[in-house]
Point group: C2
Chain length 397, copies 2
């Protein structure tokens, strides 16, 4: 072109995923790199009759435009089923459907973040939250974590020292990438701090139900007395991600902004997929389904932990996540996980994700994220064995 | 709350739809207010077997995450079927799936529009484009239309006098709200002006196939030699809007930005709905379906035009749209269509949309948009008869 395209300034902050790697798609790769649920566990045969029922009896409305909020009946089911299980007493008026909880993060940026506004994240945090929010050009403030999640004393210190904090983004349950869960006590404190300092908390809860040791944790929202917490829930990990069905629970004043943002962005989620979810939930139990998924993933979690203990050098720190999809390795500080992950993929045909892009400032390089939801136990064993040989080499033992 | 929520500055420009009216949902209302396709024409019975096939044979992948670009096979079908019919020789690498073409408009704003950037629109233009773009705070420049669409001499004059024009947004085919179609000659000129002045054209083509008198018009994109035209196509009006399936056709350099924007916003469209569209298109013909829809809507168009001629005062100007969903009334300049529409809804139980919000500056008040796609012929006749009595009253005859 003779002329040059004039892009918006913000488009320079659009970025391709830092964890995509074409190598990972090759058929002989053993992959710990995914963030996906196990495909064979989808209820596809149950959905044949469900789809037939929806099309034959609601065909006209199920394929038509519907409302931006989402179908009332589905929001009612979500309120009575999931939100109640999370300790939140709510109703359809406090819920809106989203095209994946990713959309909730992006719209939070649109609604709450001006250029330079301060946004607090756990360090490390979910990579997709950076992708969603970076175009709104926030100033990241990071809070450290320990085995009980985000450190509340550090958070309060930051809140005291900074005005113009617009938002705290957290994945309290079996966080992506670390697998860490926030303690109940800290959830209470987080809700209290949000109210005290007048800061919105975006609680992203895709893995909340996938708890393998004991009962799920109450949502931060369950301790929210003044309405500062915005909770994102999703069907992706407990039903089917392909439907792109998620929801936001928030005060009506906040929900109204999300509704207007969604109206401008894409009007609504898929009416048909909403109807499938409704009809499936009327016939089957989401609680039963979650129980089966927990059995499946618990066994994989146990396997990966056993194999890491068996095959990895002792010096490597890793956790035994109580739930979710991931475990997180900490290597020696002078090691660069990006090089190790590259070498693992090329030489050993094992894919895993180096931790660097999960840090807001990409400044820590000695972590690896391992997924155990999308890989069977035999492959877990073989993959960890191979990784182990490479790591032993690096540690010189 | 003791504290006040701190919103982003842009959130003050989020707006609820200016054409929503709860009255319109009441069961006895005859509605010309909709923008929907006819529900009974959806292929819901055909989709029963299609859904069964997809679930039984592709159940695992059809319910899983897939790519942000959209499934390759679907993009190939779109290239070979629709884009070819629109005179555009293209391939899957130039196509990306979107959650409705509304998303394409919003992402155009995200990618091309800085605060104060100039965006050219037809006057009037599609209301949803304002909703999508206003949050990015553009400076609207408006171009008048006549019966051949956007006036090209006026457009060139504006392009000469203004730098920092980022984007020209147009609905060339049977425009919402006016029903006007842009002539072939002007489409060529538009593509040439875009290249000459280095300005992106966003061509929004939801009604392009719904042409009731003769063949569809070639897309503006078909005259685009240098890649300045971004074309948005959609399954909503020719298949089912509930699936939220649309596409963008653009140069790879541009598409890459849309891909990153979509990744941050909601990752992808519904994998399941994509698979339904693929399987349906393999079994049935979209061209045949479009032909049937044209027969249905042509007949409704003929009816509404006949009734307007019969029941409306002679002084009212309206058009006989060659396609699409809408016709557009122009009342006497001193009349306020907002009042008339209110009166029609309350007293006559007839819903129609006043034209004011379709103008970028909300400064012209004597138009009414009438939809004829979502109302049967008997109801069209009764509704236009009732509107006619009110209009005769207003015109004092």
């Amino acid at each position: 072109m003779g002329n040059q395209i004039k892009w918006a300034e913000r488009s320079s902050r659009l970025e391709a995923s830092a964890i995509r790697n074409k190598l990972f798609d090759e058929p002989d790769i053993l992959t710990f790199a995914a963030g996906k649920p196990e495909s064979s566990a989808f209820p596809y045969m149950e959905l044949v009759d469900v789809a037939k029922e929806v099309l034959e009896h609601k065909g006209q409305s199920a394929l038509q435009y519907s409302s931006t909020d989402g179908i009332y009946e589905l929001r009612k089911l979500i309120a009575e089923d999931r939100m109640k299980a999370w300790g939140v007493n709510t109703d359809p008026e406090h819920l809106m459907m989203l095209s994946g909880s990713q959309e909730g993060i992006e719209m939070s940026g649109k609604i709450f973040v001006d250029p330079g506004s301060k946004v607090i994240v756990e360090n490390p945090s979910y990579l997709g939250a950076y992708t969603a929010l970076r175009i709104y050009n926030p100033h990241w403030l990071t809070v450290g974590m320990d085995e009980h999640g985000m450190k509340m004393d550090e958070l309060e210190d930051i809140l005291q020292k900074n005005d113009d904090v617009r938002m705290i983004y957290t994945v309290p349950d079996f966080q992506n990438p670390t697998g860490v869960v926030m303690s109940v006590e800290r959830r209470k404190q987080l809700a209290q701090l949000a109210a005290k300092y007048g800061v919105i908390v975006v609680e992203d809860r895709p893995y909340g139900d996938l708890c393998y040791d004991g009962d799920p944790y109450p949502a931060v929202k369950s301790f929210d007395e003044e309405g500062w917490v915005v909770t994102l829930g999703s069907f992706s990990k407990i039903f089917c991600p392909g439907f792109r069905l998620a929801w936001i629970c928030a005060e009506p004043e906040i929900l109204q902004k999300f509704n207007m943002a969604k109206q401008g962005s894409n009007l609504q989620v898929s009416t048909f997929d909403e109807n499938l979810a409704i009809e499936w939930m009327k016939r089957y139990s989401l609680a039963d389904r979650i129980k089966k998924l927990c059995d499946l993933y618990r066994s994989r979690r146990d396997t990966i932990v056993r194999c890491m203990e068996q095959y990895f050098p002792e010096e490597i720190a890793f956790n035994r996540p109580e739930g979710g999809f991931f475990t997180w390795l900490t290597l020696r500080e002078d090691m660069d996980a990006r090089e190790i992950a590259n070498e693992a993929a090329m030489k050993l045909r094992v894919a895993c994700i180096p931790g660097t892009p999960f840090y807001a400032y990409n400044d820590i390089h000695n972590n690896i994220r391992l997924n155990f939801s999308f890989i069977n136990e035999e492959t877990i064993e073989e993959g960890i064995r191979r990784l182990g040989t490479l790591l032993h080499e690096k540690y010189g033992c």
